[in-house]
Amino acid sequence: MDSLQFVLIIGLVALVVINAFSLWWAMKLNRQLRERPAPKVYEIKVDAGKVLADIDMSEVEQLTKQQLAKVANEAGARFKESLDNAVDNLSVRISDMANNSLVGEFEKYQVSLQALRDQSIQEFSKLQKELDERRTQLTEHLGRVIQQEGEKRLGALDERMNDVVSSYIIESLGNQVDLGAQSAYIFDMLHEHKDEIKKDILS
């Protein structure tokens, strides 16, 4: 946008300069016309009465004035036409320049926008990837923590299992232990492991 404003300002300045130049040029032409050396005057003595006897002097003056006015009008029209053409050309040029600049700027803007969008997409993709990795890490870490906690609690339960079983047995059986009823089991165990026991006792 700054470039566009700059171009427009340049254009306006150029227009003002051209107008000023045209005015200056017109004034110069006018001055040149005025400063044109006076035509050589040949003193020809003509007896007007004899030559222009039949022509009215006032009519001649009027005719001269009309010719001069006509020439001035034609010069002014040509100047105006030239000026109009210059202004039109200048407008077209300014418009072209403005369009070219705008298109260029817009293309640059689009390119920048596209680059920015691509960069944003890349950043977001990177961020998404990091988030996924972080989430995966956290999930794995959480899983490990849960597993460790579970193992820890199971370990604690195992450690307490001795006390639990002992307490349960003591509370359940109390003093009601009947070794007579257990004697079959006791002798079965002794028979089953007789060789090992004998080996250890006699060694």
Partner: protein
């Protein structure tokens, strides 16, 4: 001179402490018997057997020794001393103290299956629930109910989950 037949220990004499007590009593018994013998010789009377505990009398009976036969008793004393020094000892822990019958059965089993002079000591551990823990030398055999339960901890949680 013929080799004496190996002496048998009574089933009621099952522990090293009992054997030591029997040895001490037998030594005193032999001393009393010697005194009694001297008195009998002096008074021309018969030798009266000194008082003896049931355990010592059982040992005499199991060994086939006559309570008034001093040489035989001295030989028996030496045999008991030898047994005390060499007999293998087994320590049994149970949920309750076994009665006399069970002690006799256990003693008989060990003397039949392991060693003829095996000596047993008993102790109680109420937290084992049942079964027994046997200590022979430095080795421990745990056949208690508690050990059986703890050996299947995973089954406890499985049963708990299935019941819940």
């Amino acid at each position: 001179m013929t080799e004496a037949a190996p002496v048998r220990l009574p089933l009621d004499l099952y522990s090293p402490e009992q054997l030591s007590a029997v040895i001490i009593e037998l030594r005193a018994y032999i001393g009393s018997l010697r005194d009694e013998s001297v008195r009998a010789k002096a008074g021309h009377a018969t030798i009266a057997a000194p008082h003896a505990s049931a355990l010592l009398l059982g040992a005499f009976h199991e060994a086939g020794a006559k309570p008034t036969d001093q040489p035989e008793l001295e030989k028996l004393l030496k045999q008991f001393q030898a047994i005390r020094d060499k007999a293998p000892s087994v320590h049994l822990m149970m949920a309750a103290l076994p009665n006399r019958e069970l002690k006799r059965k256990l003693t008989d089993w060990f003397r039949t299956e392991v060693h003829p002079y095996a000596l047993l000591t008993f102790a109680t551990r109420t937290d084992i629930g049942g079964g027994f823990i046997l200590q022979a030398g430095s080795h421990i055999y745990n056949y208690s109910f508690r050990e059986q339960l703890l050996g299947h901890k995973s089954r406890i949680s499985e049963i708990y989950n299935s019941v819940r």
